[in-house]
Symmetry: C2
């Protein structure tokens, strides 16, 4: 049985949910595979996605209420997240209607060369592993589900154990909307439990998997996908420290604004974002350091999503506190409840940092950051270039920094999937030009994004049709 | 030392070539990485690719002469293949000039959503593992090299041991053309030897690998890529049996034409094509069977590329000959030389075939085929759907077969990257709409093609730029 807990109290929330058995997983996958043909052929796929969006909005209050009990993320944030989730279904309805996502290319016959038409087709039933930290936007009703359904792939979601009730309600809303929209069969299903998730990944009819979560979790599931008799692609979004570089002109020109922005981004959602700015690089100047120290000291933590995540944060913080190269710069206000995280910011020099990158550039999921002081941009660039892959790289620059910025961008675009100018990495717009991905270990496939309309690309593969008569196309 | 042999005689051809040491691999990769910045930024990249194309054409006679000695593929085929290789460099020069391959997308700021621009960037230095069976088009001067260089990625090619002299000459021509075109540094290099290839894949500055070859070879190298501290994508094109389905109307309407086409495709290049039609499905009718038997019996084999490939073919044929479900339908004329392959065609019923798909649908690299007789299209479809992935699926249909063809195409597009109507799978046009790829084990990444302009996609990943000022773009 899977039991949710209220992070504000540590007490059980709602009734326990049974783990899905292997036989039930098999039934769900077979049903999904049977529904695949009609789902992809349906002319009403866009309408069905919009029906899901409408149903999510209609049930927003209930969804927010149960999710707040299970995650303590707060009504405001969760209300916005339901809107984001329904917005993603509408975005992908538009992508389906537009039709360009199939990338049809036609090369007419010339001389001995044949007529060829290439177009994308859906992979088939796919597995989606939900994340803990976005109970809507990266969970059962999240972007992986919306983009895969839009591609024409049936979806079986493995719920995150942190919010089983929210997952059940989301699934019921989606299934109800599909049925009401007249969709034949069951192109959508939900399962619970680690073993059920493994059975899902190993099922011969599953053709790909999407995942949002930790690096160890992602790598373990990727291995399962690779070791199948027929390997399948695994699109894992895992971990990142998302370096922020403050260039000298920006640091001296607006130290307070930058410090406040940093503390806000670091502690947003108790730091439980894959885009959290875990590393801040600033010039070795007292003013910016003391501004950061003050802002971080005033910042508040929050209740973490689960006891396990809280324990992980505590141990990551203990590792940092014990590291000989780090000293504490600031400690913020503790969060509510038994799993309340306290913001912690450490500092070190570029030289100390460079001496132990594998440990110091490790993701610490929660509101913990390391501020690295650099003596010069010349010395900073090669150290940045050696960082592991990230979802986001950020630079803060003033007019006077543009020369340095031009040298910095090629390094940031090498180590991150998105580069932010004079902003913060948290906050990911769901738009066509978005890229929420990045080099390993940020993701297992740097060529894809899990946010924005291009997320549909993961679930499609091309087929070329050679010399096909009109009657067969 | 790596020694080439003349397949027509089994005697050494040319001087042995030393294996590249690990230190030399390191030097080449470092030089390539140093050249990366200038190579991708160069406004003359398209001109440089055209210079390579011109240089290949200028040296076509020498290239063909040495390749014919090392591969015995014949002057006509090899002359055509040099033209194909130079044509690929010109195709990709056009792709670079056009610029659309960078897939620039711009979402303007609206309300709280930021301005975002996404574009593709090259991965960095990549490894290319050359194939045995196309000494130009899938080797040192092949499509992987051309597409990766076009993407802006420096390339180090691991030569195939079957044609080291051809590889050396190709590399010298490419390097000379790049130098003459004024390209700075060394964005291209060549290495020899299995150990050198492994050192290349494990080199921390290598960012991806392309491979064309056998399934065991591809899987072994893929594992090396996956087990690196920082895993890299491995684009392997491996093995396929490329089923051909002859529908009843076509079988009774033009049995001889189909039989001749089949025998020609099966034995082309001594059957040494990844698109070779290893499985032919025909109605259980005497006429088409006897036509295939006659055509295959008249077909000639040829000298195989290497002793190892010949031994592999002999053992694959022995396995088929000993299989209780197969009986020999025809045996053709032996090829020239000590490694001359003899065409062999076996036959079985759909029922027998379905009882041992893993063995009977195994690729037998060379001119060996299995003809499977099917009692009805209804019974055929589920067996086809259970085949492993292929590069090509082919159907032959008459007007009267269109209903069956409409049911067959969705199965073929599921198990193959290209579906051919009333043609043969061998022969792969290098055009924008081409898809030379397919589900596992045909390739390790069904979403990509290794032939045609879309082959460039393998070497690129997206980056989004958020709120960038004009001066920084």
């Amino acid at each position: 049985m899977i039991q949710a807990y209220n992070p504000r109290t540590g007490e059980p929330a709602g009734n326990p949910v049974p783990e899905t058995t292997e036989a039930e997983v098999d039934t769900l996958v077979r049903r999904a595979a049977e529904a695949a043909g009609e789902w992809v052929a349906s002319e009403r796929r866009a309408e069905a996605l919009e029906a899901i969006a409408d149903a999510l909005d209609d049930h927003a209050e209930d969804l927010v209420a149960i999710a707040d009990t299970e995650t303590a993320l707060g009504t405001e944030r969760l209300t916005g997240e339901v809107a984001r989730a329904s917005g993603q279904f509408r975005l992908f309805a538009g992508v389906v209607r537009n039709g360009e996502y199939r990338k049809v290319v036609h090369t007419e016959a010339v001389g001995p060369a044949p007529d060829l038409r290439r177009a994308l087709r859906p992979l088939g039933p796919v597995a989606v592993f939900a994340a803990s930290n976005f109970p809507f936007a990266f969970s059962v009703a999240g972007g992986d589900t919306a983009s895969a359904l839009a591609a024409g792939c049936p979806v079986i979601v493995k719920a995150h154990e942190g919010h089983p009730g929210t997952s059940e309600l989301s699934a019921a809303i989606i299934a109800g909307a599909l049925e009401a929209a007249g969709v034949a069969g069951n192109p959508f299903g939900l399962i619970h439990g680690v073993d059920a998730g493994l059975a899902l990944l190993r099922h011969p009819l599953i053709t790909a998997a999407g995942f949002t979560g930790s690096i160890p979790g992602g790598l373990a599931l990727q291995r399962v996908c690779a070791e199948r008799p027929v390997p399948i692609p695994f699109f894992g979004e895992m971990g990142a420290v998302n370096p922020v570089v403050v260039l000298p002109g920006a640091a001296s020109g607006r130290p307070r604004e930058i410090a406040d922005g940093y503390a806000g981004s670091l502690t947003l959602g108790a730091g439980q974002f894959c885009t959290n700015p875990g590393l801040l690089f600033v010039p070795d100047e007292a003013e910016i350091l003391s501004a950061v120290s003050a802002a971080a000291g005033n910042a508040s933590g929050g209740p973490m999503l689960t006891e396990r995540i809280f324990r992980g944060y505590e141990s990551a913080v203990a590792e940092a506190a014990a590291h000989p190269g780090l000293s504490e710069l600031a400690s913020g206000q503790p969060g509510e409840g038994p799993w309340g995280a306290t913001p912690r910011v450490y500092t070190t020099s570029l030289k100390e940092f460079a001496a132990d990158v594998p440990v110091l550039a490790r993701e610490r999921f929660g509101p913990a950051g390391i501020v690295v002081t650099y003596p010069s941009v010349d010395e900073l660039l090669p150290v940045l270039a050696g960082l592991p892959g990230n979802l986001v790289g950020t630079l803060h620059a003033a007019e006077s920094d543009l020369g340095d910025a031009r040298r910095l961008v090629p390094v940031l675009e090498w180590i991150a999937g998105r580069v932010v100018y004079n902003g913060w990495p948290t906050g990911v717009a769901v738009v066509p030009a978005q890229q929420h991905g990045g080099p390993y270990p940020a993701t297992t496939s740097a060529e894809h994004t899990s946010v924005g309309s291009a997320a549909i690309n993961r679930w499609l593969v091309p087929v070329a049709y050679q010399n096909f008569p009109a009657g067969l196309l």
